[in-house]
């Protein structure tokens, strides 16, 4: 009788037992998977990943690459366009304009393929702080340059002119460039920008120190750095475009 009951239960309940076992197993696996997820894929990590995708397209590298390359080519480009009968100041707008245009084109193209997101209020607050940081830094740079020019022309602060036209001004400008870019890197959660900041700051200092001894050869520093950053940006862009699925927005 007992055996008959067991046989009856096994024959009638086996499918249910298998299903129940399957669900229990699935839940355990899900929890284990979740534990792993909670441990390594936590929200700050996802947040960081999402916001860093903005910089995977290499657009900022292309922007800084062209800007720095422009600083290196400025002297030659200026003499070339004045030789063509065009005003020399075009050179001051050409490379920054090209950098902004290229960055805009890259962003536009990548956003079409990659999709877009809007920043959370927390990130918008960070962007606001970054705006003020850049504004204050630009004003400080402008003030420092004016002070340096005044000191050079002997209009004011003549006792400081020797120091300002020596090591202090290049150091201050380099430090300022590094601080602004590092501040941007922090608020944008853009680690590669720290490297660009350090390289740009160092290039600025080296170039200023080389001014007296090497003349126009100082531009070589910007040329090399600009090419390296630009090539890296193009490499990032091409690899991203190669990875993305080929389709329009849903």
């Amino acid at each position: 009788m007992e055996n008959a009951t067991i046989v009856f239960m096994e024959s009638h309940f086996t499918p249910f037992l298998i299903i129940a076992k399957h669900f229990a197993m699935q839940s355990v696996l899900n929890i284990l998977a979740h534990k792993d997820r909670m441990a390594k894929d936590d929200i700050p990590e996802i947040e960081r990943k999402v916001y860093s995708t903005v910089h995977e397209d290499g657009s900022w590298d292309i922007f800084f690459g062209i800007m720095i390359l422009g600083m290196g080519l400025d002297t030659h480009f200026r003499s070339w366009i004045t030789g063509m009968g065009l005003p020399g100041y075009i050179s001051s707008f050409f490379f920054p304009g090209l950098a902004v245009l290229m960055m805009f084109l890259v962003k536009w193209h990548v956003t079409r393929k990659f999709g877009r997101f809007t920043y959370s209020p927390k990130m918008l607050g960070m962007r606001d702080r970054m705006f003020w940081l850049i504004l204050v830094s630009v004003l400080a740079t402008f003030g420092l340059l004016m002070l340096g020019m005044m000191a050079k022309q002997g209009q004011a602060l003549s006792e400081y002119s020797g120091i300002l036209s020596g090591l202090v001004a290049p150091l201050a400008i380099s430090g300022l460039i590094f601080s602004v870019l590092a501040g941007m890197a922090y608020y944008m959660r853009f680690d590669r920008l720290y490297v660009i900041a350090a390289a740009f700051g160092t290039a600025m200092l080296t170039s200023e120190l080389m001014r007296d001894c090497c003349g126009q050869d100082k531009d070589l520093v910007f040329l090399v750095l600009g090419v390296v950053i630009l090539v890296n940006g193009l490499h990032l862009l091409l690899s991203l475009l190669g990875r993305l699925p080929r389709m329009g927005t849903a």
Partner: protein, 91 residues
């Protein structure tokens, strides 16, 4: 009881990505989570039915555009789920 709707790994990923932004379009979530179009679409429908995700369909020029946003209820459910899981796993 844990929220089974959030517990599913793909839906957890979708909600986690929407949790850290204000809103995102369908394509962005698809590239970020690595889900296929159909798979993502079905999960989004479930989340929308539960009131966790708000779907806004529109056009950008001639191209259709679908924007996704985690609702207040969705945010609360996601927070609650994470809290519960943390307690359970003692992380």
């Amino acid at each position: 009881m844990i929220d089974k709707l959030v517990h599913e790994p793909a839906r957890y990923q979708i909600m986690a990505h929407l949790y850290v932004v204000e809103s995102a379009d369908f394509l962005f979530i698809m590239t970020q989570t690595g889900l296929t179009f159909g798979n993502l679409s079905s999960h989004i429908s479930k989340l929308e039915r539960a009131g966790y995700v708000e779907v806004e369909k529109g056009f950008e020029g001639k191209k259709p555009k679908t924007m996704l946003r985690l609702t207040g209820e969705g945010r609360k459910a996601f927070d609650g789920y994470r809290e519960k899981m943390r307690e359970m796993l003692e992380l």
